[in-house]
């Protein structure tokens, strides 16, 4: 019998399937951000949009397994024409969070989101991705004029009665420091948002980011025998559904070995942390959850 190479990496059990992610827009996005860890773009069809029918099938399995919360990402989720019925179906079962670049948040969509939120006993959260405090960093990564348009979307959400979480990558120097965070929060208060919410995210050195700055160093890997805390890692309590099946987490969908099955039940087993991105999650204590 040959030894699997994966056996030399620490393994994380699935403690419970609490968090279910959907790659609802596949890898299709209206932007082509230069730090995107799965290099999403208008032309990237590695993972296709999920249909309402597909989402329903996994929601049903999620309900049977007692999933606690649902997350929707892409690509850009609002490019999926079925997003609203998908959210409506989800919010009957549990809380939902949508990760977006904020560029599709016109007054009509904001009002519809508020309606969905009000009709559910569960929370609906919007998470808006921003890079840096202003257009200097943000537009360089995401494209000319995007910062102002995104912040206009944030403001429209707030005016519609929803309070989004702003997620900021650590790309801008010092943004995770107390003063960096405060500067960002103050900016939101100036927009009229009296309860500003902020989450700082790590960068993953893969996809487009690999070309923008650098990839992982060979030593940025977890070694066998490293003690990992399954409670802190997303893969210890979550899975990711894409058009190609169920993956271990939202980060590793470009790796075929991270696809664990076609149904949720097929993926209720441990996963070996064989990827450099696993190193980032372990070392920085990253969780994709809010």
């Amino acid at each position: 019998m040959t030894e699997s190479p994966l056996q030399s990496f620490p393994s994380v059990p699935l403690l419970a399937l609490d968090t279910l992610w959907f790659q609802v827009a596949g890898t299709i996005c209206n932007l082509r951000c230069t730090h995107c860890f799965i290099a999403c773009s208008p032309e990237n069809h590695s993972h296709e949009m999920l249909t309402l029918q597909t989402v329903r099938r996994y929601l049903q399995e999620g309900e049977e397994l007692g999933v606690r919360e649902y997350y929707f990402t892409g690509g850009e989720p609002f490019m999926n024409r079925e997003l609203f019925p998908i959210l409506e179906a989800t919010l009957r079962l549990g809380p939902a969070t949508v990760l977006t670049n904020g560029l599709f948040l016109d007054a009509q969509r904001c009002a519809r989101l508020k309606e969905l939120e009000s009709d559910s006993e569960y929370s609906l959260d919007l998470r808006i991705s921003v890079d840096g405090w202003g257009p200097e960093d943000h537009d360089r990564i995401r494209g000319e004029g995007t910062f102002d348009r995104t912040m206009a979307g944030v403001r429209r959400l707030w005016e519609a009665g929803l309070n989004p979480v702003l997620t900021v990558t650590e790309l801008a120097e010092g943004i995770a420091s107390p003063s960096g965070r405060e500067r960002f929060l103050e900016q939101l208060r100036r927009l009229g948002i009296s309860k500003p919410r902020l989450k700082v995210l790590s960068l993953f050195r893969m996809g487009a980011e690999q070309r923008r700055e650098r990839g992982y160093h060979p030593w940025e890997r977890l070694e066998a025998g490293t003690t990992v805390d399954a409670e802190k890692l997303q893969c210890g309590s979550g899975r990711m559904v894409t058009s190609r099946g169920v993956y271990v987490c939202p980060i590793l969908i470009d790796f075929s070995a991270a696809q664990m099955g076609q149904t949720l039940r097929q993926t209720l087993r441990p996963f070996a942390l064989a990827y450099p991105a696993c190193y980032t999650c372990h070392v920085q204590g990253v969780t994709c959850r809010t």
Partner: protein, 260 residues
Amino acid sequence: MPERIAVLGGVYSNSLALEAACRDALSRGAEALYCLGDLGAFGPYPERVFPLLEQYRVTTIQGNYEESLASGRADCNCGYTDPRDNHFAQISYDYTSRNTSSAAKRWMGTLPGTLRLEFAGRRVLLAHGSPRRINEFLWQSTSPAPFLSRLLDEHRADLLLVTHTGLHWHRRLPGGRDVVNVGVVGRPPNNGRTDVYYTLLTARDGVKVEFVPVAYDAERLARDMRAEKLPEEFIETILTGWWTTCLEILPAKERAAGKF
């Protein structure tokens, strides 16, 4: 077999509210009193809580505060993730730890982490955060029925009682089982009023769940907190009923309901 029991959540050193709640529960015919932990935090003079628990025979389990104090942890292990939340949590914990004797900390180490009862023919499970983790937050808007049913299956219970979030709620599950977050007596539930809440359970056609508001001398508590130089932000919460700190952990719906 008692027909009525009272269950209290986090005390947060609010001995004035604790005593008011115990008296109120007895006056309503509660035959047994339970507390789900977090005796300290937020309020003044943590050691004033212990004699009351004895006097009113309150059966108590560990919260993350008791677990942390007993094991000498440097922080409360409250489960916050945002630095703004952790900043104020640390102020509370340092104050509570400084003002709690080693004998009391040892006693906290002897408290059970969970407790099982039989009440109204139900298998009742008492836990601080959740039965699987002492500092897990079970909020109403992020604890859907399928998830709670799984917890009850895994922990073989028909009625689960928890606290930790500071906000009370009750969800009846398909099949007639129940999960109740009993709230806390330590501070008001972020509703702009100064009353605090405890939970009364009555064995009648199954289990009747009531959240009982309790008025107490909040002005006096505020004076005591000022004398102990506790943050003005905490005092404002006691006097106005709006939470001013540790808000980032709140889910969207719960956050929207408060003033800050």
